[in-house]
Structure formats: structure tokens, C-alpha cells
Symmetry: C2
């Protein structure tokens, strides 16, 4: 008995098939289906014959082939740092929405904040070119991004203060200043005196800026900060938990902890609660980002709000302006505001 495939080998319907059925040439089908139909006149009956054939066959154009020919592919790639951080969901969502308006597909890549994966992303783009790239680089240098652009001709928009390249649009927020302001408010407005910080390794510039803002505020207030009060996490809840355990195990623990992001702040909150410290009475906590989880935890988390949907919107808008050639000037810089949101944890 002959073994037959369970499905007949799939039948790719191509333009040729449509052309044949419609009784026209393949290039005519192409003209009808691409926007060039606007440029080149097509007789109504031909148009209809083609549309009917497309319908009947359920034809879908092969975008791969189109891309190869046109050197553009109606696709952008987004490189974000952490798929499990809600902050990036809103960015991704906003980008998706705008991309859809431009009939453009979106490829999302996750780097886990790792240089290795950021590099891999660039290589993937080299091999599989896209029309545009939006990224949140934590390690990539100007040179590396510049090289990617030279090689692929891709348009790029970036979230991150540190990037400065001729044709790259940058969306940024003054997180250093915001951290300074918030720390200052904790000291002057809320009278905290023993301030601790949960940051990340010095490899991350945004972390450095926030730490610098924190330290500047503490020094400006004439306070000092014990080196053991500066802890390092890795952006995750778990690392915030461990950092807080360390902080609370000191003889005279801090009365307020400034965390570099909300996830670590939530970890810190959990640790404090597990050690039976009342928040904010015994130890206050402030985060950064304003992710939804800040209001899932009790007490609700005070935080410095970013506006990720707005960030994503700006990035995508700027990118499509370049892709579509509307904007060709030097790289623009869009500043996004940050806002302190006082809740129950301070």
C-alpha cells in the first residue's frame, strides 16, 4: 500500500496562476495588485477579470518575492530589552498600532538587556533586511548602529539618551533629573534621611544617570550615603528582593529605597513585607516606570512615571516619516516628560 502524504503537497498560488485564469499577462496582474495601478492606466474589464481571478483562487501575493525585487519589505523590527516588563508592552503596542496603519508588519526581538542578544539582533537584520528598526539599546554603540545603517540602509529610531547618529531619531527622557527631583522630594518633602538605592551595574548608562541624580540630591541636601546602601540588581523582581534583603539586614537600615525600575521596587516591597517591615512607615519605596503592577501591589507603589505608549508613538511616527521619505534631515531628539506619581509606598 502506497504511503500518501496526509495533505497533498501544498499548492502555492502565484501571479502566473491568476494571470492564466484571468487571461492576461502576469505583469498586468502585478500592475492591478500593486499601487502602480494608480500610475498606469488599466481598463476596467481587465481590472475586474484580475480581481475575480484573485478572489476565486484566494491568491495572496508573496511578499518575499516582492521584497527581493523592490528592496523594501513592509516590515520593521523592534528590539526591546525585556518582554516581561510591562513598560515595553506599551511601547510595542503603540508601535504595532502605527505600523498597522502603514500596512507594515512588526518583528519583535527581546534582548534581556544582554549585549550578546543586541549584537545578534543586528546580525539578524543584516541577513534579513527590514525597512526600519526601532530599538532600546542598552549596550550597542553609535558605531555599531551606524554600521548597521551603512550596510543595510535601514532607517532607525531609538529610545535612549546616549545614541547620537546623523540620521537616527532619538526619543529620550531626562531620567537623571527626574531621579534627582524625586530624591529631593523624598528628603525635603517627606523628610526621609537614610536613603538607599537599588540600581544596576555600571554597564547601563540609564542606571548610571539615575544613580548620579540620586547621589546629587543626597549630597545637595548635605546628607551622606553609606556605600552599602547602593545595591545592584538586574532589573528583575527577584534581584530587587535580594537587594532589599541585604539593605534590611544592615544594623541601621534605610528609611527609604529608590529603585531603578518598578520591577525591582516590587521585589523590594515583597522583601520588606516578608521581613515584617511596615511600608512606608518603617521603610518607604519608590520605583520607576509606572507599570500597571504598581497598583496591583499593596501598598500601591509610588513611582516616576514614564509614558511608554507616547514613547512608542513618537518612535514609530518618526521612523515612518523617514521610511516614507517625508523627513530626511539630521537626527531629531524628542524629549518625553517624566512625572512623579505619589501613591502609598512613600
Amino acid at each position: 500500500m502506497l504511503k500518501r502524504p496526509l495533505y497533498q503537497k501544498h499548492v502555492p498560488v502565484t501571479m502566473r496562476d491568476v494571470a492564466e485564469l484571468a487571461g492576461v499577462s502576469q505583469s498586468t496582474v502585478s500592475r492591478v495588485l500593486s499601487q502602480s495601478a494608480v500610475m498606469v492606466p488599466i481598463s476596467p474589464e481587465t481590472y475586474k477579470k484580475v480581481q475575480d481571478a484573485v478572489q476565486q483562487l484566494g491568491y495572496h501575493p508573496n511578499l518575499l518575492a516582492r521584497s527581493l525585487r523592490t528592496q523594501k519589505n513592509a516590515m520593521i523590527a523592534v528590539m526591546i530589552a525585556d518582554i516581561s516588563n510591562a513598560f515595553y508592552h506599551f511601547i510595542a503596542r503603540a508601535i504595532q498600532d502605527i505600523a498597522t496603519q502603514h500596512s507594515c508588519d512588526v518583528l519583535i526581538a527581546n534582548t534581556d538587556h544582554l549585549y550578546q542578544y543586541e549584537k545578534r539582533f543586528c546580525e539578524a537584520i543584516m541577513r534579513r533586511p527590514v525597512d526600519g528598526v526601532i530599538m532600546v539599546p542598552y549596550h550597542l554603540s553609535n558605531a555599531e548602529i551606524g554600521h548597521l545603517i551603512e550596510r543595510t540602509g535601514v532607517h532607525v529610531a531609538v529610545l535612549g539618551q546616549q545614541i547620537d547618529l546623523p540620521t537616527v531619531d532619538v526619543v529620550w527622557a531626562d531620567d537623571g533629573q527626574a531621579t534627582f527631583d524625586a530624591t529631593n522630594w523624598l528628603i525635603s518633602g517627606k523628610s526621609y534621611r537614610r536613603l538607599a538605592f537599588i540600581g544596576v551595574t555600571a554597564a547601563y548608562e540609564s542606571g548610571q544617570r539615575r544613580l548620579a541624580g540620586f547621589l546629587r540630591a543626597v549630597e545637595t541636601a548635605g546628607l551622606s550615603v553609606d556605600p552599602s546602601f547602593i545595591q545592584e540588581g538586574d532589573f528583575t523582581v527577584e534581584s530587587g528582593y535580594r537587594a532589599m534583603q541585604t539593605l534590611l539586614s544592615t544594623p541601621t537600615p534605610p528609611d527609604v529605597v529608590v529603585a531603578c525600575n518598578d520591577l525591582m521596587a516590587i521585589g523590594a516591597l515583597n522583601a520588606a513585607q516578608d521581613l515584617n517591615r511596615r511600608v512606608p512607615e518603617e521603610v518607604a519605596i519608590i520605583g520607576f516606570d509606572n507599570i500597571p503592577a504598581t497598583t496591583f501591589v499593596r501598598p500601591n507603589l509610588t513611582t516616576i512615571a514614564q509614558f511608554p505608549a507616547e514613547i512608542g508613538r513618537q518612535l514609530a511616527t518618526a521612523l515612518f516619516e523617514r521610511i516614507e521619505g517625508v523627513e530626511t534631515s539630521v537626527g531629531r531628539r524628542f524629549e518625553i516628560p517624566l512625572t512623579l506619581i505619589e501613591r502609598q509606598s512613600t
Copy 2:
């Protein structure tokens, strides 16, 4: 003064360039670079000349062109229901890991549980074929998925009991039974008597199975359930919050609430707390999924654990077995266990 582009129009390095520099034919370069080099013998010096040229030019093969030629493209697509639900992060992560082992890129699409987006995903795949698809369909029918396969020849693996197609591998969990068991435990083990349920609209089969399991347990125990105790959400925290507000506004509110997923359970928990009900003393809550947030909230959430990393691993493993032709039998069904995890909310 002439306006010059800020970057010289990018220079795409092709195989031709490599061939020219190496002083060999373009097909030789292809042989060196593709795995066909294993099949066809290449002289060591040619090999080296080519490799050197590749190095010197920083050449990256254009995967688009390769795909068009080979009809495979080292890319799979993943369709998940909610990018902001951590449950899916673990699935996506596990798939990514395995895909990377197979030198395969991953495209992630988000449907927000919406039929409209599930359809759009299928159309995107029709236009931009991939080697494999992993999906968590909530609305897509067997026919629709079957059509996708016939048209594109794509291999498919699915999370979801309801899908049954000749060559599609299915990973599933008996969520109805697990909900029955958990409800039964709430009644027999924990002595709750006034049980409520926060589900989703009947359009979702998994929701229906869980509701059925819940009802069966209640009835088996000889209890009845007030229709107003069956609330509907939309998988989100906010909808769980609203559902719980409704439940707690009844004259004699429930003493335990079974939620269809953790996000809605967390919403319910928040609502209870905002209405000053003690959890679990006045009202207990149980979720479904065991996402990390279940341990961020206080009290920690009792839940029915799924094992998303294992689910993702199974899906990806099965898919690659088909893509690589190792497995060609009829669709396999892999059952993933579910486990009740008792924490503080019950």
C-alpha cells in the same frame, strides 16, 4: 551647494562581490557558505579565499533571496493571545530558546484574544510564508488552520484542546478537570459554600471548560450557585476588578471566587482589598496559570499552575521535528499536567 546624503547610499554586499574579490564563481561562494559545502567537495584554498573575502567585505547572505529560492526561510511565527500576560512570556521564551538552537528566527504576534487579529495573523503568514507556526488559537477553527496549511505548506503546532487536524501537533491540559478538582477541594477541603466564578464570554472554549468543571463540582457537592455569581471578564486585571466589585455588592456575597486566570484573580483581590474585605477570611480567591505576579501580591495567590515553559518546549520541539522531517505521522497530542498550588488567598 549640492546637498549630499548624510550617509552614502548604502552598499549592499552580495555574493557576486565576494566571488569577484575571491576570484571564484558566485556559485562556488554559495557552496562554501551553505551547508551544501558538506555535500560538494571544495578545495581548501578556494574555501579559504572565499572565507577571507567574506571577512574582508563583512558579507552577510541575504536570507530573503535564499528563502525565495529554497522555499524555506529559517523562521517560525508564534501567535499568542496576550503579550502582557506573563504566562505567554514563558511560552515565548522557551520557543525562542529552541528556535535559536535550530538557527531559526522567531516572529511573535499578539492577538489580544481577538478573532480579527487571529485572522490577520493567518493572512500575514499567507503573504510572508514561514517554515512553521506555533499558535494559541482562541477563535480560529480547524478549517481555517487547515486552509493555512494547504495554502502555505507550513507546519503547525498548537496549544489548545479544541484543535484536531491531521498533521498538527497539539499540546493541551485538562483545565476542565483541574477546575473541577480545585473547586471540589475548596468545598470539601476548605469548606467554602458560597462559590462564585469569574470567567470569560462563551466564545472561549477554555473558559467554557473551566466553568463547566466549576459547575460540575458545585453540583456534585449538592450546592447551588446563584446566576449572579457567574461573572464575565476579558482576561484582564481590570475586568477581574469590576467583576469582583459586582460580586461583593450582592446582599450575601460569595465566600470564595474562582477566577479563570491569575490576572483577573489579581483584579478581584485588589477589588476586595479596596472594599476592605479580608482575604481569605471574608472572601477567598483562586486563580489559574501561576504567573509570577501571584507571589507579588499579598496575600499570595492560590492558583492552578500551568507550566508554560514546558508547554513552549513541547510545542517547539514537536514543530521542529516536523519542519526537519523527523516526524511525519498524524498529529500528536501532548498532555501537560496542571497542579494546584495553595498559597495564602484561600
